[in-house]
């Protein structure tokens, strides 16, 4: 192996792939990244056997070859290289990194021991605008259940329909749905005959957000029976840049549509930023249970946000609001409310409630693509 590459490129490649490697006691090879030198391209791969990332970058290839190198170490070394270009060679499982005033050797492992990252049939795919997907994903990704007790809801649900893409996450206490609509402008192409859907583990979704750029590029999504592949392309080239391969979460996503209430018994309309601020302030006295109480009376022009903690004290805040429907006293985990509001961009939101033991919905006004359903705390 012998190649020369821009240090900037190399840094990008290793920092992207290094993240998912960790200390793996049973299989030490997983602490490594696989470095492959191909004609004109350097390829760096890493995997934790659930998730795999492959990165390609342009390089000047003198001689092809491959080696597995400890990821953390390589990352540290590469980040310390001051020079613009670097030449890398391999000799009997040792990586030699050379620049003008700089020489390092890193001990590696044979590339043959590195796990083989699954390949995909590429006949059928979904092509989608990366920026839009990233934005949508960011608004739901943190809602998924952290616990693995119910695997189906520990991931993000992707549903690709004819002209829309739905992203859904829930942890059984709240649920967020983002609908990406694509009109005639394009930005979405689905070559599958039927609508397709899968559940992506939360960790993979977070990595996906990392690799997606805000630029106006498209990415392709391929499926195999238990895996999914996200593929981005190098700027201005037909060549792939990053592949993210993840397992799909087994199981069927709950029929979440049934959770979303169709109408409201009590509805308030408030300024989003003011509401966030008041909820956060009330949260100071939310105590261990994070509980804040909303008191809503239709004849008033304000709602009351009340919280109390037997040891710390209590707070009563008012918030200007348009109120429709029945009287209501309802209690929420303020963190849940805030997380939902944080994902909305509109200046005003509606909060629709079904009494103090039914699901409530927060919707940003003027943006029908997002909704956030939240269950109250029992009073």
């Amino acid at each position: 192996m012998n190649f020369t590459i821009l240090t900037k490129e190399l840094k990008k490649g290793i920092s992207l792939t290094e993240k998912i490697t960790g200390r793996n006691l049973t299989l030490p090879i997983l602490d490594n990244v696989l470095i492959e030198v191909l004609p004109n391209f350097l390829k760096i791969s890493s995997t934790d056997l659930e998730l795999g990332i492959q990165w390609w970058g342009l390089c000047k290839t003198e001689k092809e070859g491959k080696i597995a190198i400890p990821a953390k170490l390589f990352n540290q070394v590469v980040n310390a290289i001051p020079e613009e270009k670097v030449t890398i060679k391999e000799k009997s499982n040792t990586l030699l990194i050379e620049a003008k005033n700089y020489k390092t050797q890193i001990k590696g492992m044979p590339a043959d021991d590195f796990p083989i990252i699954p390949t995909f049939s590429k006949d059928l795919f979904v092509e989608i605008n990366a920026g839009k997907l990233k934005e949508g994903l960011m608004s739901v990704v943190n809602i998924a259940s952290v616990s693995q007790i119910r695997p189906e809801i520990s991931g993000i649900y992707f549903s690709f329909e004819k002209e829309t893409v739905k992203l859904v996450a829930t942890d059984s206490f709240r649920l967020a749905e983002k609908v990406l609509s694509f009109g005639s402008k394009g930005g979405y192409k689905n070559t599958f005959k039927e609508p397709i859907a899968f559940i992506l583990p939360q960790k993979a979704a977070k990595e996906l957000i990392n690799i997606l750029t805000d630029e106006d590029k498209d990415i392709k999504i391929y499926l195999s029976e238990s895996q999914v592949l996200f593929e981005t392309y190098l700027n201005g080239m037909e060549h792939q840049e990053i592949n993210l391969i993840s397992r799909q979460v087994e199981g069927e996503y709950p029929s979440y549509q049934e959770i979303i209430p169709k109408e409201a018994k009590t509805k308030i309309t408030v300024n989003k930023d003011d509401f966030s601020k008041q909820i956060k302030t009330a949260g100071i006295f939310g105590g261990r249970t994070n509980e804040v109480i909303l008191k809503i009376e239709p004849k008033e022009k304000e709602i009351e946000i009340y919280s109390q903690d037997s040891e710390m004290g209590e707070s009563t805040l008012n918030l200007l609001s348009k109120i429709e429907g029945n009287d209501l006293k309802i209690s929420f985990n303020w963190k849940f409310v805030l997380e939902g509001l944080d994902n909305m961009k509109a200046s005003e939101v509606t909060f629709e409630m079904q009494g103090n033991d039914g699901p409530a919905v927060i919707k940003p006004i003027g943006d029908p693509s997002y909704l956030y359903v939240i269950m109250p705390i029992k009073i």
Partner: protein, 454 residues
């Protein structure tokens, strides 16, 4: 040689030639899933293992297999994910929620099994049997033993909050546990109606028919909602027949006896009566006490006997109210950190026990009656001599007298200026039927329940 032994011998030989870590990573949860002539299919737990086995160990595996069976030519690798045990997970989840001191509510829909629509929280273990529901319970148990053989259909009827849904879902859950291969579906009648309406609109009614007719156990809750929905009744009738002929179990529930469900076709009615009809009544005092104790035990609390006595004595008609009383007592205990005394209990349960539920008005009574008999509430009801109107009208007069203590002449005026003697006659007539005719008695009980529910 057995398939398992064949794979075991592969594993035992491979183990010698690779490191334990590699062996544990790549060969965990692998097995031979089938052998078809000269082709062996090996199932592995994830795609990485599949690639690895295919590319790194294939030669070795096939060599070992051929030593044992020279006929083997090819190996297929497939990914077969090992599913975690669902049941234990849902139980653990409930535990989690109760440990937390806050009563954060979750989406109930997520607990429901998507395939069967059953909620795992309804089981026989937490179903309490008393004289009031013995018969329905016995019927249910017979069905669990041999679904489709005894009592088909089982028709359970009784008032709100007495455990019909619990019993039916428990049957479903138990059958699923005993006969995992059986296809079970629980559908509330309202859902059935909307599904059928949607199917008609989307022109895929045939698909729906097919899925319904492939069921082994069909459970329909609150069947009285089919009243007046002719098309749904027709579809349901055909589904019913087709399942019944194939000895598939059908379980139905309603808030009243099939005879008392208005606007439902005779042929359906007679089919409902073809199996076993079991009623669930109000629980007696002892059962109420047992239910209270069980609910407290489930939640890990215990209160004084006289407090429980007080609750059991005062909440008589609805198990759901018992549950809400239990919740109130528990919240009291949590916030004040002491067990409620009988005085506290009286205060806490004032709302449930004392009279607000006994307050009603003219409008409510009339609405409940017209809804119950499924008749239009307009003037027809006030003036027509047809029997379908006259009987409800007489019952309305009787209830207005009994519940609102209106004077006879006032009631007469409300019904379009009828003479007070007409009203007296009506009241006496219904009074007599109330005492003598079981069917009328039951109808009036149910109407009363409707008036005072919510």
């Amino acid at each position: 040689m057995e398939v398992e032994q064949l794979w075991q011998s592969v594993l035992s030989q491979i183990q010698l030639s690779i490191s334990p870590a590699n062996f544990a990573t790549w060969f965990a949860n692998t097995k031979i899933s089938s052998i078809d002539k000269d082709c062996v299919t090996v199932s592995v737990s994830n795609s990485f293992s599949k690639e690895w086995l295919e590319q790194k160990y294939h030669k070795e595996i096939i060599k070992i297999l051929r030593e044992i069976d020279p006929n083997i030519k090819t190996i297929n690798y497939i990914v077969n994910v090992v599913k975690s045990n669902k049941k234990s997970s849902s139980n653990r989840k409930q535990g989690d929620r109760e440990d937390g001191s806050s009563e954060q509510l979750g989406f109930a829909e997520l607990d429901i099994n998507k395939e069967t629509n059953l909620n795992p929280k309804y089981t026989f273990e937490n179903f309490i049997i008393g004289p009031f529901n013995e018969m329905a319970y016995a019927g249910a148990m017979a069905i669990v033993e041999e679904p489709g053989k005894n009592y088909n259909p089982l028709f359970i009827y009784g008032g709100v909050g007495l455990g019909k849904t619990h019993l039916m879902q428990a049957v479903g859950n138990k059958i699923k546990e005993k006969f995992p291969e059986k296809i079970i579906k629980y559908i509330p009648a309202e859902k059935l109606i909307s599904t059928i309406v949607n199917a008609i609109r989307n022109h895929n009614i045939e698909d729906l028919k097919k899925t319904l007719r492939e069921l082994d156990v069909l459970i329909v809750d609150d069947i009285q909602f089919l009243a007046g929905k002719d098309k749904t009744q027709e579809e349901f009738f055909h589904t019913f027949n087709s399942l019944y002929q194939k000895n598939k179990q059908i379980i139905l529930s309603s808030d009243r006896h099939p005879n008392n469900i208005p606007a439902i076709t005779e042929r359906l009615k007679s089919r409902f009566e073809g199996g076993m009809i079991a009623d669930i009544n109000m629980p007696d005092y002892e059962t109420r006490l047992a239910i209270l104790k069980q609910k407290l035990e489930e939640k890990g609390y215990d209160f004084d006997k006289d407090v429980l006595d007080f609750v059991a004595n005062n909440i008589q008609k609805n198990i759901r109210e018992l549950e809400s009383a239990v919740n109130r007592l528990i919240i009291f205990k949590k916030t004040n950190n002491k067990n409620p005394t009988i005085e506290d209990a009286k205060k806490l349960l004032k709302n449930i026990i004392a009279a607000p539920s006994k307050i009603t008005n003219f409008k409510k009574i009339i609405e409940s009656i017209t809804a119950f008999f499924d008749i239009p509430s307009g003037n027809m009801f006030y003036s027509s001599r047809k029997k379908e109107f006259s009987k409800p009208r007489q019952i309305a007069m009787f209830l207005l007298k009994k519940e609102l203590k209106l004077s006879y002449s006032e009631i007469g005026r409300k019904f379009g200026g009828k003479d007070h003697t007409t009203v007296i006659h009506a009241c006496q007539l219904v009074e007599k039927l109330w005492d003598e005719d079981e069917k009328t008695h039951q109808e009036i009980e149910l109407i009363l329940q409707r008036i005072y529910s919510n």
